[in-house]
């Protein structure tokens, strides 16, 4: 097992360096934006002394180098600070937001896979039938359509006209009322799942097509396995390797893409916290959200890599230096 350990430690180092680089980039990018976080605290009628006092309070009067030292030293202590504007500690607030964004992402993701796997395989296996062709065409369309447009369509149809689900918002007591919370996530989940499964279908389809044309499948058939036996025993496992890396990327982009969907549905998730934070130049909030989401994305990538190695003995073999 030392091989897998050295793989893990290498991967962890990459993870840490990526996080550090991400932190610096976002520190600089935020401060390159014109504006001042103190502006979110004052209003027309405020006199120059009040504005200066606000700048001192948020520390935007300090030189950039000093701000950076503050930032890095508090980051090293895992202290994401307090919002400039709401004064609330950033980390617990992110925790509350994740209680919306994570279920939203995971449910959409699961639904997308449930839709995309069978449809993608059918589209590949039955490419010559009308329904195989139809799946390909519809999924192509799904990729082209912007996610907010689907959201608006679903709201108009299922919320405003049919009244099946709420049109937006999240229950004020959150997950303390699980049915209400779940109801408010149904349309956002479907919205993301539609867009996400559209692109997943294409990946599953092409992965399946690769498998279908492969020598080992022909060999399996020659050895007497039925087509579906061969596909299930050999095809799915082989085909899943590229699909998993795509799924990892898709999961990460869904997490970030939730920003748009959260806005369309007025959900109090990570995305709305980020958008408001950027508008207000609320550095601690923006840094906190970006830092945590970068962390999540990197962790997802890490998990996808690991899963691939478990499924694909060739990758495992490369690190271990031996076959199974």
């Amino acid at each position: 097992m030392p091989a897998i350990l050295s793989y893990l430690s290498r991967r962890l180092i990459i993870l840490l360096v990526s996080i550090l680089v991400a932190a610096m980039v976002l520190f600089l990018l935020l401060r390159l934006l014109p504006g001042d976080p103190a502006n979110a605290l004052v209003s027309v009628g405020a006199d120059p002394e009040q504005i200066e006092a606000a700048r001192r309070q948020v520390g935007s009067d300090l030189p950039l180098s000093e701000q950076f030292i503050h930032f890095v030293s508090s980051l090293a202590r895992f202290d994401l600070g307090n919002s400039f504007v709401s004064h609330a500690p950033v980390l617990p607030e992110i925790g509350k937001r994740l209680a919306v964004t994570v279920p939203l992402t995971l449910m959409s993701f699961t639904l997308a896979i449930v839709i995309a796997l069978p449809l993608g395989i059918i589209a590949a296996v039955k490419a010559d039938r009308w329904y195989g062709w139809l799946i390909s065409v519809v999924s192509q369309f799904g990729i082209a359509v912007p996610v907010f447009w689907i959201g608006i369509l679903l709201v108009t149809l299922f919320a405003v006209n049919l009244r099946f689900f709420p049109s937006g918002g999240f229950p004020s007591r959150g997950w303390q009322r699980p049915e209400a919370a779940f109801d408010s996530l149904v349309l956002p989940v479907i919205t993301i799942a539609i867009v996400m499964s559209a692109s997943l279908i294409r990946y599953v389809r092409s992965a399946t097509q690769d498998v279908l044309g492969s020598d080992y499948l022909r060999t399996a058939r020659a050895l007497g396995a039925s087509f579906s036996e061969a596909l299930i025993r050999h095809g799915i496992r082989n085909g899943s390797v590229p699909v998993i890396s795509i799924i990892g990327i898709e999961l990460a982009s869904t997490l970030l893409g939730a920003v748009v969907v959260e806005r369309v549905f007025s959900l109090p998730g990570l995305g709305s916290m980020l958008l408001l934070g950027i508008e207000q130049r609320d550095y601690p909030n923006v840094q906190g959200v970006l830092f945590i989401s970068t962390l999540l994305v990197l962790l997802i990538g890490f998990a996808a890599d690991l899963t691939q190695r478990i499924i694909d003995p060739r990758l495992r073999g490369r690190a271990a230096g031996s076959s199974r």
Binding site: A40, V42, S43, D47, Q50, A88, P166, S266
Partner: protein
Amino acid sequence: MSGLTTGAGVILKGNRLNARTITAAALLFGALAAGPVRAQDFDADATINIGSLYEPQNLDNTAGAGQGINEAFNNNVYEALFRLADSGAVEPVLAKSYKVSDDGLTYTFTLQSGVKFHSGDPLTSKDVKFSIERVTSAESKSSRKNSLKPIASIETPDDATVVVKLSSRSISLPYNLSYVWIINDTATNLTATEDGTGPYELEDWRRGSSLALTRFDGYWGTKPSNGDVVFQYFTEATALNNALLTGSVDIITSVQSPDSLKQFQTNKDFTVAEGKSTTKLLLAYNDRVAPFDNVKVRKALARAVDDSKVLKAVWGDYGTLIGSMVPPTDPWYVDLTKTDAYDPASAKALLSEAGYPNGFSFTIDTPNYDPHPIAAQFLQTELAKVGVKVSINVITANEWYSKIYKAHDFQATLQEHVNHRDIVFYGNPDFYWGYNNPKVVDLIKQAEAGTTTDEQTTKLKEANQIIADDAASNWIYLYPQIVVSAKSVSGYPVNGLNSQFFAGGIKKAD
């Protein structure tokens, strides 16, 4: 989007500073008469769901909480010595009565008895002193801080008496005190909790989503006609409209686009109430720099723009034209729409007189949220007709404060000014637009030092006339104030002055 976050009272974004006029009252009455809610029919314990785009940033109006906190908390959770009623009148609340000394420099307030904070503590004069000093303190971000500058000292001879001594006369003191929440002097962590005397106490606040208030049983005044009030916050106007259409909210506090009104007007389940706001759309010039330091140029541009066309383009049949900074609901209103009315021929003549026969070009710094970009394009087209070339530079609300409000680094900017009684800004030569007319500065000072409100009104009317004659800025139009509700709900304020939204009188049919 919540756009500009602003402090108490003086607000840019949003359009809820209004005073009810007879017209508005009649409109509301007419609207309510259509809704079949009789007094005995309402549910005394109903939950009222109020939909809004203005979530407070924190719960303290001296800590940069934004206009949303006034909407949710003024007179609902916190009360002041006085309040600005929806009619525009200043009414005593926690001050039972007050006396002014002959020299106008000593105000003696007697407090209501039997008033309790939500924590159970009784209200005393020390709480009042503490509360006023919070607003005037060095850390205070309240935009009302300046108007309370005449306060020299606050004394508390006994628990029920507060004596405020002034360094100079301030006829607006009771009005200005309506912005000062009375808070328990032992309260802490006011950005996330509260301890006020109002009819509701805070039950729960979920950032980014909702703020729930529940009836306070120990309230000293009239019991609210509902049980709970939940403010639900939306980032998107369409999502908010859908929430009303589907019944998840009962009221929208302020509709921002006329396009979305049709779906409610044509549906008999809803009531659309139009009040008059005090939100003005301004093309504010930097009066310090050429060519805008030339009054002829400013007058020419005022005549070159057909304001009614801009208003129609943005608001359809809603809204009002104005000729200066003062809306019809301020006591010192004068109809000045005829001053520099639309007249492109004379605009051209004035430009020639000013030395710009071939026009000139300038840049309008334009906030990136509605209605500014559309209005800017409109102005561009209008001004092109008299040979003035406009470039539009789109900026965010946050940049606006740095570039324009603070650094005065601009030629002209479009901005909505929500502020109630804000003609006083023209009396401050250091204000961002840099208008400096010593006569106006003087009149505005004299008005505040006046011995009667009549004197104040006369002086401000005079100042109003001068800024209009000087075309100090280009006042495009006055926003309408539109509240939409489900038909089953009544008793809400239509004019929401100072962004307020008193919830205590709202009734929901059984």
